[in-house]
Amino acid sequence: MAYHSRMTDSLSDMIACPKCDALHRVPLLDKGAEAKCVRCGTVLMAPRDGAMTRIVMLSLTALILMIAAVFFPFLKLSVQGLGRESSVFDAILSFSDGLMLPLSFAVAALIVVLPMMRFIALIYVFAPMALGWAPARHAKAVYKLAETVRPWAMAEIFIIGVAVALVKVAGLAQVTLGPAFWAFVGLVIVTVLKDNFMCRVTVWQTLNTRSPS
């Protein structure tokens, strides 16, 4: 699959691996097949049946779960008759005094704002295309933003953090999991599923061919 000899092909028939610059001829792939870079193994193309519809559906699900996760009680702690319920919102506000305030904003951004922004951006980009329409205005810029935000959306890391925190307080008090906890777990599973359907190069190609130029 590597591009070796002739230089006569037009540039649009070629693709350079974004990670290692190896040049490839664009292969014709069946739905469900995958093309990987010969040198570094990065997935270059992975067209899938109905991928766009699935991404939109999963993003929408994630968005609804996120709203539930933020406002329903997340964990309940009780010790010697004293009880305290806290939501994700409380976890965000826990750094809210003085010097810690910026950290409060950062935590809010990492576990709620950025993941939500990503879901909304993906719905905006893919919903019109899933319906067979031309991409929405500024769809390319919005998709680029969603990709930039990706490493900073840390909902799944937050869940592991919750697990560690539970072990830490287990000796101290009794902890009950609230509905928001399960909403958040669902959210993480949906996010991982959704990211598996997305292949960056394939998305760019689709965006490009469907955009009115």
Binding site: R39, M100, A106, I160, G161, V169, L172, Q205
Partner: protein, 210 residues
């Protein structure tokens, strides 16, 4: 994978006189300024990225020091206040018998950050010395980029504990100042890893500084 280093020579876009987009992979004649598909600026090898890598890495290293020296958590039980650092928290967990969780916290807040500093510095040094990399160097880079964000666990643990354990006299947990510097350290090293142009790992020797 053992023979990956002796794999067939690969023609790169640069060797073919072309420039590939680092975002979407489309190729253009060398000298084209921006990708017409996604609008990204086209740079064949971003040598200037190394400066950003070093700057953010150094910033991350600087704030990692107070993150370990100052307390991460202030626990008040029955009027007595106890402060614990990152490593102190790990020892507390071992003391409670939660070896597994202690291991998670230790790996996330000590092993990953420290090995990340070393790995990024090592990869950047190789590029400076213009040594060609192999796929194992590239996989090291991918691993660093993937694992870095997981260090944030400890900051989230502190946030959850502080929100949850507010039982007036019986028990109160408050965040310490180390939480801020640790969060900054993780963020800075993430930016450092993200700034690295992975194409430099493969073929630095041919490259002329831009």
């Amino acid at each position: 994978m053992a023979n990956a280093e002796h794999a067939q020579p690969v023609l790169t876009a640069r060797a073919a006189g072309l420039v590939g987009c680092g975002e979407c992979g489309h190729v253009y004649p060398m000298g084209t300024e921006a990708c017409s598909v996604c609008g990204t600026e086209l740079i064949s090898r971003d040598m200037a990225s190394l400066q950003r890598v070093w700057a953010w890495l150094f910033a991350g290293l600087v704030v990692y020091v107070p993150a370990n020296v100052y307390p991460m958590l202030r626990t008040t039980t029955l009027g007595r206040t106890k402060e614990s650092t990152i490593v102190g928290g790990v020892f507390d967990l071992i003391h409670h018998g939660s070896i597994g969780v202690a291991l998670i916290v230790f790996v996330a807040s000590v092993v990953i950050p420290v090995s990340k500093f070393i790995a990024i510095a090592y990869l950047a040094m190789r590029v400076h010395k213009r040594k060609p990399g192999t796929s194992s160097h590239f996989h090291l880079y991918e691993f660093v980029e993937f694992i870095g964000r997981w260090s944030m666990i400890d900051v989230f643990v502190v946030a959850i504990l502080s929100a949850l354990v507010q039982l007036n006299f019986v028990a109160t947990i408050n965040p310490g100042i180390a939480a801020v510097s640790f969060a900054l350290s993780v963020a800075f090293t993430m930016i450092s890893a993200n700034s690295f142009d992975p194409k430099l790992i493969w073929d630095a020797p041919e490259g002329k500084p831009v």
